[in-house]
């Protein structure tokens, strides 16, 4: 995510900002799914 932000500043483009937002959201969702699986044994109950 920070790499995407710095690349966006280097190339002066706003497309990398969308990549950073997507990386942040996918990271949070995957963390929640992994923790739920480790705690409960099922992601969607």
């Amino acid at each position: 995510m920070q790499l995407a932000i710095v690349l966006g500043m280097i190339f002066g483009s706003m497309i990398y900002f969308d990549a950073a937002l997507l990386i942040a959201m996918v990271g949070f969702v995957s963390t929640v799914a992994m923790s739920k699986f480790l705690m409960r044994g099922a992601i969607i109950e």
Partner: protein
């Protein structure tokens, strides 16, 4: 050839300082993730990296694009708010999963490997049992 667009010096100074501070904080967080001994201590490194390092870099990016396009650019507030809201939640979820795993595996008495929490609890249990035996 990569060429960064020129902006004014009064905007380039805080952008550079924030980038250096964010990079240093991210380096410290990565070193903590690499070097700390137990899982519960290793939890702190990514939390610091995500909140402070990403916060500094996002503020620097916001200032840079504001100076580059000559109008206030606040798109990065989205990512900042999202990261600041979700980082403690994900840390708590990982921590609860780890505590649940350790308790279920019966690691309460395994000492350093399971972290300081269980070591301290074992110490109090030992003290209590010693007190009861002396009575």
């Amino acid at each position: 050839m990569i060429a960064i667009e020129p902006i004014t010096i009064w905007l380039a100074l805080p952008v550079g300082v924030l980038l250096i501070v964010g990079g240093s904080i991210s380096l410290v967080g990565a070193l903590g993730l690499l070097r700390l001994p137990t899982f519960y201590k290793r939890m702190h490194g990514p939390a610091i990296t995500v909140t402070l390092g990403s916060g500094c870099m996002l503020i620097a990016s916001m200032l840079y694009f504001t100076g580059l396009q000559s109008r206030p650019v606040i798109h990065e507030v989205l990512v900042t708010a999202f990261v600041l809201m979700t980082a403690p939640v994900s840390s708590m979820l990982i921590l609860r999963a780890a505590v649940y795993h350790d308790l279920r595996a019966g690691k309460r008495d395994s000492g350093v490997e399971s972290g300081d929490i269980y070591e301290r609890r074992r110490g109090t249990d030992l003290d209590r049992s010693q007190l009861e035996s002396t009575k």
